[in-house]
Each structure stands twice: as structure tokens, then as C-alpha cells.
């Protein structure tokens, strides 16, 4: 299989980047997309060139480290999939594949396809936790949680923090990411005591980081590898309004 990659190259965060084209032959359909980039990088090394920097770790769709724009879509052509889960069988022989980093003010490019997503960590730092020291817990089954409640919390908690929601949103909003964590914790009895403070502080931090506001286009839900539902955002907004007006 032969394809042409058009890949964004950028030296560092201060430099101006540009696309470069690489024709790559000898790929196979069962290679993953990232393995095709590995393959290209090995070719570059043999030509004594600097490799393309891109991110990954687990390569099984759970760590959230990978993520690039492929032919104009976050994580490539399929819904609900990470870049590392994408395989070359999704492309045609001879196709040109355009690869860019996430684009968002709050996610500055570090080099090539790698961006800085530490804004997500700072949102979590503002309340994406339950305050309880190690060693202070009561017997686990003393807290009964209905299966539906627990399942719903799990749906939200499944977020892998990849940033595709932000990258795909025309406003670069981080509402889905933030909502997922707030709803996970605020819907559980353990998360209730800090619920108000959590929603107020996390959403405030989200705005301070320079993420845009949500206009409910639903693009994020489609690209989310975990398929986290847009209704989470509505729920977060309701929680926020309630917290603002009623404390």
C-alpha cells in the first residue's frame, strides 16, 4: 500500500510551522495508523533526517495520549475511535492523508504534532476529586448506590482526556471534558459534599484557560472515543446554574 502523508512540521512553540509531504510505499492494511508513522520515521532516520514527533503511549485507546487531526477530523475518519486504534485499512491505496496537531488556543503546539494539554490537568486540580485522606474510609458497602446511578457515573467517568472534543469544536470548548468529570463525581453520594464548589471552580478554570463556550453543535460527542454524551453538558450547565443561584 502506498500513500502520501502531508504532515504538519513545527520546530518548537515559537516557530512557524508548515506542511511537508512524504510519499510512503510498502505499508500494509493491517498496520495501525501510528505504525505507518513509525514506518515513515524509520525511513527518515535512514535518510538521516529528524523524525516526526507525535504522541502515543498505550496504543490501545485508553491512555488518551495520542491524537491528531487526520483529513480534517479528530482521530481520523471513524466516530468514537482514538488515533491509535485507527488502521490503514481505513484508507485507500494512493490516498493523500493530511495530518495536523490539535488546534486550540488552550492547546499550544510544542513541536510537530504534539500539543500541550496541561490545561486539562489544571481544570481537574480545581475540584475533580473528592477530599478524603487515605485511611479515613468507611466500609465500602455502607454506601449503597443504585446500579443506574453508578452506571451513569461510569459513563461520564470513562473520559480518557485526549482532547478530541476541544480539537473538533469550532469554539474550542472544553465543556464535554469538564462536564464528564463534574457529572461523574457530583452524581455519586461521595461527591455530594463538594458538589457546588466543584462545579463552580472547575467551570471557572475552564474559562480562564481560554477554552471557548459551548454552542451545542454536538461535534464533540461524535469524535469522543468513549462516546460521552452531549447531555452531560446540559446537565453540567443545570448544576452550574443551580449552584450559582441557590449555592
Amino acid at each position: 500500500m502506498k500513500v502520501t502523508f502531508r504532515i504538519w512540521r513545527q520546530e518548537n512553540k515559537n516557530s512557524k510551522g508548515q506542511f511537508e509531504s512524504y510519499e510512503v510505499d510498502g505499508l500494509t492494511e493491517d498496520m495501525s495508523f501510528l505504525e505507518a508513522l513509525d514506518y515513515l520515521n524509520e525511513l527518515l532516520v535512514t535518510q538521516n533526517k529528524k523524525v516526526i514527533a507525535f504522541e502515543y503511549d498505550c496504543r490501545e485507546g485508553i491512555c488518551g495520549q495520542c491524537g491528531v487531526f487526520i483529513n480534517g477530523r479528530a482521530h481520523g475518519p471513524h466516530d468514537h475511535m482514538t488515533t491509535c486504534q485507527l488502521h490503514m485499512r481505513s484508507f485507500k491505496d494512493g490516498e493523500t492523508i493530511v495530518v495536523e496537531p490539535w488546534r486550540a488556543t488552550a492547546f499550544p503546539v510544542i513541536t510537530d504534532l504534539i500539543v500541550d494539554r496541561s490545561a486539562f490537568d489544571r481544570i481537574i486540580e480545581k475540584g475533580g476529586y473528592i477530599t478524603a485522606k487515605t485511611g479515613t474510609a468507611a466500609e465500602a458497602n455502607a454506601i449503597l448506590i443504585a446500579k443506574e446511578v453508578s452506571d451513569k457515573a461510569m459513563d461520564a467517568a470513562a473520559c480518557i482526556g485526549c482532547g478530541a472534543c476541544v480539537a473538533t469544536c469550532k469554539n474550542s470548548s472544553a465543556a464535554l471534558f469538564t462536564a464528564a468529570k463534574i457529572n461523574h463525581l457530583n452524581s455519586l453520594p461521595q461527591g455530594k459534599p463538594e458538589a457546588t464548589q466543584r462545579v463552580l471552580e472547575m467551570t471557572k478554570q475552564m474559562e480562564l484557560e481560554g477554552f471557548g463556550s459551548c454552542t451545542f453543535t454536538g461535534a464533540c460527542e461524535v469524535e469522543c472515543p468513549e462516546g460521552i454524551s452531549l447531555t452531560n453538558i446540559a446537565e453540567m450547565n443545570a448544576r452550574r446554574a443551580k449552584a450559582k443561584w441557590f449555592g
Binding site: N48, E60, T111, Y129, G135, T136, A146, K147, A157, L188
Partner: protein, 635 residues
Amino acid sequence: MLDSKIPEGPLESKWRNYQLKSQLINPANKKKLNVIVVGSGLAGAGAAATLGELGYDVKCFCYQDSARRAHSVAAQGGINAAKNYQHDGDSVWRMFYDTLKGGDFRSREANVFRLAELSAPLIDHYVQQGVPFAREYGGVLVNRSFGGVQVQRTFYARGQTGQQLLLAAYSQLYKMKRAKKVEMFTRHEMLDLVIIEGKAKGIIARDLITGELKRFAADAVVLATGGYSRVFRLSTLAIGCNGSAIWKAHKRGACFAAPSFTQIHPTALPQTSEAQSKLTLMSESLRNDGRIWVPKNKEETRKANEIPEEERDYYLERRYPSFGNLAPRDIASRAAKERIDAGYGVGRLKNAVYLDFKHAIERFGLETIKDRYGNLFKMYKKITGVDAYQEPMQISPAAHFSMGGLWVDYELMTTIPGLYAIGECNFSDHGANRLGANSLLQASIDGYFVLPNTINNYLASALKEDHPTIDHPEFEKVEKEVTDQINKLLSVKGEKTVDHFHRELGKVMWQECAMSRNKEGLVKAIVQIKDIKDAFWKEVNVTGGHQEMNTELEKALRLADFLELGLLMCTDALQREESCGAHFREEFQTSEGEALRNDNAYAYVSAWEYHQGEFKLHKETLDFEYVQPTVRSYK
């Protein structure tokens, strides 16, 4: 040299006795003590957050862009605890016994007992932190069973247990960061350890964005850097997982225990091409309802669904009637290898076996199976393009977990004073084979409960000493050594890629030091690895510079260490002339092909000391006071 420091008293009271006698440090003094924690997985994040809560000043490191991505995130199946919620006869004692037996009696009784003892409070802890474990309609927690045991003691959060536990640990870490008790250094890779007057006092880390080498000093250093199975290259681990931190510690004096004890997981997706970078795990929990088989006919050409029942060989059920598909991992992997080697493998490369849900779907209904394993089936479809509700999965063994690691005593301290190793990077609790769902447990217990209770014993004395500073000549010296190594790598300017050498190493390791080993093969492997290592240092090409982000350089540095670690693994496997757990020496087996252990000669933990490129063996004898080692039978 190897003082395991096991506390006095009966098994049940050892941990309590230890805590009663350990030294305390008053809160005002804790503030003055600095601890470095390298790693932000369950072990590292748990330790860093808890040490922060206790009042220490903590610096925590990881190589990923966020602590939330440590490889603990990938664990699917679950975490064990002796809660006996299912009323099926479970207890701390039984869990202790299962773990000791599962490890084929090559671990310490006292450590294993503590693991079982602290398992129940750990579940309480995680529930409190908001982990959405699976629940019954009535609201109580659900359990399932996992390979190697006959009770249901595994807690889980869909097929994403590791993710949910790690996110809880990560959230605690960032809570303590907010409280200014923990400073977080993401995208920083530890490249060496600094020892001053015989004690661990700091590290050299590379800032992966700028390439800058940085010095960090502390009163104690904790390594929580995870497993090293990427030495095989193809494994279920994340691509960045490495052995560098513990290897550098080893070269500076920490003994390395049981390096060759590696778990090969029976249910990963098979390799399909040379370019493959990773073998994705399919959770072992699938073996609860899935049945494993191969065709009885080697020349079988029909599709799986077209092969009638009587022409299928459910070899695990046949060989191990009482455990069947739930036989422990080492046994299940070896049994798969036996069938594949004998020519009965399935799939394009004939390197896989079937894992079939047909009967489970008939019995429980599609919805139940979807509810239990939905996300695993989805993942399978994404990767292979195949719908496993319709036809069986194809699975194959893959390198998965390192039981070996830095030798630690009961306090989790290595042979270097002030250097601790926790989680998968130490050797402690799993013996020669780890039971499923015991490792999230061990990483968490080490990090949350054990280390924060043992480190004070050492730090109490550190309080009386001067705090180390980064302008000490030792920091200068070690930093220079790291710089030299980097420059040397960059200046080779050969013709071959780092991955080329990693593939070569991986092939040798997989061939000779994985599921079954023999003397001839290991001797040959040692020669081959030395050759690969020599060639690497003469022919590798690492492009780009070091004062910048350079992913090739990161890989090269990790591989340089794997090449040395591989040698030690083979040396260790060669030395152990018995079969135990995952270590199967072909020369030592029963007439039925089962492992033949030799307790008279090998009931010890091997602990290797590094000395100028040579490895010297020390032995920690294992005394079994409370259980009598038996032949581990799952028949």
C-alpha cells in the same frame, strides 16, 4: 546483605507489630523532609498523594504529558480484595494462600499476607474516592472471579478498572498539588540516580520538551516506574514503559531480584505483521464466560463456526478439568503455546487460539454478555474489524507483567538506603507468577498503605542529617555521565534505526526467555544479546539533537538499558535449574509436561548485584513457616 526485616510475631500480627514499633515524625518536622517519587501510576500517585497528606514535601515525575496516563490506566479486568461479599468462603487467609500458591511458593509469606490483609480497606478507600465500581441493583458491590482462584473476589469498573483507579489516584495527586504539597513534573524522564555517602539523595531527569538535564535532590527517593516487559518489544505494555530508572538504580548498587520471572498473558491479540508495535490485551475476565479451543485437525480450513463441537479441542478443559478455562495465566499460556507449536494454531499466521462466546450467549443471552464485556468486544472490533458476538475471537500469548524487579525488604526499601521501589517495579509479592487482579492491588497497597507507613522509619534518621543540595559534586558527576551517554548515542551516526535493534532484542528474548526456556537456548541468547548490544553502539542512528524534544533519543536511551537488562534476565533464567510458575525450564518437567519445582535447591529469591558489567548472585532464602509448599495443581 539481604535483610528482609520481617517483623516478629505471628503472621496475622506482623504488620500491626511493625507499625507499633516504627518511628514517628512530628508534623512540623515532616515539612522539612523532601521525597522524590518517580512514577505516577497507582503506586506512584498513591504514594505521592498520601505522603503529601502526611505533610512531606513531594516531587512526583512521569514521562507522559499527564499523570493520568501512567500505564495503570490500561488495566481492564479488576482488583482483588478479600471482602467475602459473595459469601463463598473467602478470607484474608485464603487470599494469602491463593497468592502464595499462584506464585508457586517463590514469594515471602509476610509480604503476601500483608497484601491480602490490606486488600479490604483498599476497596473502601477507592469507593470513598468515587470509583464507580460495578454494582447490583440493590446498590451493593459486585464481584467476579479471575484466573487461578475459585472464589469471587474481583472488583471491577466495566472493562476499565485500571483507568478508574488511576483517575482516582490522579485526582488525589492533583488535590495535593493544589494544596502545594506535591510538585508535579510531567514529561520528565529519570535517567540516573544520585547517591551521596551511600544513600539515595536525588535523581537526574531529562525535560522531554527542552532536552535539558535537571538535578533534583531529596531525603529519600521512591521508584514507582512500572513493569519492564517492553524488553520483549512486543508486549501488552505502553510503548514508553521502560526499565531505565530501576536499571540505573541497579547499576548504582540496588540488587535486582528474580529478573527473569515474566508473566506471559494468554489472552492478547496475535501479532499480524513485522511492523506491529504492540499486542493488545483482551482482559482475562473474558475467560469467565469464553471457552478456549483449537481444531482437532491440524489441516482444518473451515471457518470457526463451521467446525462441529466434536472436532474442537477445548484443551484447557481437557487438561485442567477443575479450573478449565480459568487456569492461571502461566498454565494457560503454556498450554496455548503447546497447541500452537504442535501445529494446531489458528489465524493467518497460525499463531492464535479461539476464545468462543457462543455457549455463553446461548446460556445468558446476548444482553448479559454485552453488559459484562461490551467494551472489550467493541475494542476487538475496532482493532481486527471482526464482530466477536458472531464468531470467536483469536487470541495469543503476549509478554505482560514483570514479577521481578528491584529487591526490597518488608519496608519496600532496596539495598540502597533511602531508595524505595513500589508497585510493579519491585519484585515483592507475586513470586514466580502473578494472579490476575492482584497487581493493581499490589501497586495501590504499596503506594497508599505500606510505603507511607515505612518511609518514616528511615526519614526519622534523615532528619538529623544535612539535606542534600544539587551542587554536591556527586550531582555534577552523575549529570556528566548522563550527558556523556547521550552524546555517545548521538555521535554513533550509523545506518540502523533504534527500532531495528529493539526488534532484534525482542526476537531473542521471546524465543529463549519467555514461556519456556532451556540451557542451550539461554546460553545462546546471552551471546546474541551481547552482539546486538555491540552492534547497537556501533551502528545505530539517532537523528536530531538533545537540547530539544527528540523522541528517537528517548527510545534509544530506553533500549540501551533494555539491552543490558535482557542479559541479566537470561542469566537469571539460566541459573534457576527448576521450573516454577512462569519460569518453565524444559529440562525440568513432569512426564505430563507440568512444571517440576525443586524446593530443596531453589526455595530462594535470586538477587543480583551489579559489578562492572558482571552480575553477582545473592540468595534470600524463603522460609515457609505457615504453609507447606505443595505441588501446584490445577487439574
